[in-house]
Structures are given as structure tokens and as C-alpha cells.
Amino acid sequence: MRELSLHILDIVENGITAGADCIHIDVIVSRAEDFLTIIIRDNGRGIPAEKLKKLTDPFVTTRTTRRVGLGLSLLSAAAERCDGKLKVALGAGGGTEVTATFRYSHIDRAPIGDMASTMATLLMGNPQIDFVYTHVIDGEEFILDTRELKKELEAHCLEDPMVIYRLGEGIRTSLKQLTSNADKPEAREKNHGKTDD
């Protein structure tokens, strides 16, 4: 996959297939400490212990239509080639927690990519599921919590394609702002001149 946001889309879809109704997505970037962490936490039915050990083996899958499953294997390979690793564990309240770490400045690290599209796609295709998306760049934080949005507005509001489309634009603008805030000269000095993608 060309972008980390596509990996995120893929892993979140796993959680939805596992019957989750609320999924947390955290993207945490610290350029000063040179790491990028992606955490995806769902409240689905979880992964059986015997499968958990050999999860990144592409020939291990819970599906019955085919004998291969590539999603986690690909993410694991992406993390490992950037001096990071993939960890899959049982979540605190059941469900699954997938953590992928990357060395931020590694030359093989794919760009984060279009997270706004990933979120819009998830909202569009799964109106019944709640998403909590947190994106942190050097301490600057962006949060999108659909539970909050649904509480404040009518519940059906997030099923309107026009609203989702505009929401996607809103996410894109906010993330851009987040990046430029973190790119102020004083911040850049602290980050050894590295800029975000």
C-alpha cells in the first residue's frame, strides 16, 4: 500500500467485520523523538488466543472463503522495514488493539497520506458505527468523535453524503492547519528541520 492511511482503512474494516460498534484511531507523530505510532482499537469480538500468536502469517485467517489474509501481514512488513514493529493485543474491554510503530524519518516510511479520505470513506460506508479519530503532531492535537457529533446534531445527520463530503473537507483543512502549526520556525528548530508529509 502506498499510504499509511490505506493501511488504517484496511485494519479498521477488520474491526468492523469483527462486529465492533466503536473504533478508536490514533495517529501520533513526534518528530523530536522521531517516531510515528498508529493505534487502532475496536470493541469487536477479538481474536482467539491461538490465532493471536501467528497473526502476521499471511496463511492464517479467520475467513472461510480463502486461505490467505494479507492486511496485518502488510502492515507488519511496513512497520518492520522502518525499524518499527506491529503489536496486536486484546483490548482492555474485549476487542482488539493493533499498534504499529515506525521510525518517523526512515527513508522507507510511506507518507501518512490522505486521512481525510479514509475517514470520509469509513463514515460513508458505516453510518451505524462510531469513530474516534485522534491525530497528534508534536503535541498539537486534532480530534473527531462521531459520538459527540451524533449527540449534538440529529443522529441521521452523518448519513447525508453532502455532510460527509463537507466533513471530509473540514478534516483535510484541520489536518493541514495542524501540520502548519507544527511547522512554525521555532517548532522546526526543535525538530531538527524535519517537516511533515
Binding site: M1, N126, L167
Partner: protein, 122 residues
């Protein structure tokens, strides 16, 4: 802290100036974009983006868009299935943003099956 506020969303909603409660109506047409690992890697998200834009423009309450998993034909991804109450479901293969726009405008809105892009009837 950057945060997409409730006010932002309220503004979006006012600007689109549309009653969202009418969405309770029955969906006559269902469009599924297949989003397995294979579909995503092949470009299903761009297809979904194009579909969302078309949906926003068309403003039709009887069309529902869903995502689904891989159907086992990974070599023909991105796949899109158009189901309607009146006709048989059609699976489209090797979609991209432009093909999606064409399928939406011709098949979904006008009922003309785009057999050039079709994988088959289900």
C-alpha cells in the same frame, strides 16, 4: 488544539440546507464498494471518493452506499456492486474514479447497465 467543532458541522449542515430526517426513507438502490485489503490496495478509496462526490451532487434519498469486504475476486478489484429492487445486482470490475462516475450517472440514475465495465450478474 485543532478540533472540528460542532459549530463547524452545524454550519455545514445549514449550508447544505437540507432536512436530514428524510433519509429515513426506504433505499431502492444499494451501491456496495468492496473494501477488502485487495480492494483498498487497488484503489477502492478513490472510487469511494468519486461516489461520495456524485452522491452529494445527485441529492437522492433512495440511494444507499455501503462498504463490504472482499468477494474473492481480488484480481478484478476495485469491485462495485449495484443492487436495485427492480433489476438484478450487477458487479462492476476494475473500477476507477471516472468509471464510477459513469456508472453512477448512467446505471444508478438512469438505469442503463454499463456492460463494458461489468464483471457479471450475480
Amino acid at each position: 488544539m485543532a478540533k472540528l467543532t460542532i459549530d463547524d458541522l452545524k454550519r455545514i449542515k445549514e449550508e447544505t440546507a437540507k432536512s436530514t430526517s428524510v433519509r429515513n426513507g426506504v433505499a431502492n438502490i444499494k451501491i456496495s464498494v468492496h473494501m477488502g485489503t485487495c480492494g483498498i490496495a487497488a484503489g477502492a478509496r478513490e472510487v469511494m471518493n468519486a461516489l461520495m462526490e456524485e452522491m452529494a451532487v445527485a441529492d437522492r434519498q433512495d440511494i444507499r452506499v455501503v462498504t463490504s469486504g472482499c468477494m474473492g475476486m481480488c484480481s478484478s478489484e476495485p469491485n462495485v456492486t449495484v443492487e436495485s429492487t427492480e433489476a438484478e445486482p450487477i458487479v462492476y470490475q476494475k473500477m476507477d474514479a471516472n468509471k464510477m462516475r459513469q456508472v453512477f450517472r448512467r446505471h444508478v440514475l438512469l438505469g442503463e447497465i454499463q456492460s463494458d465495465f461489468a464483471l457479471g450478474r450475480m
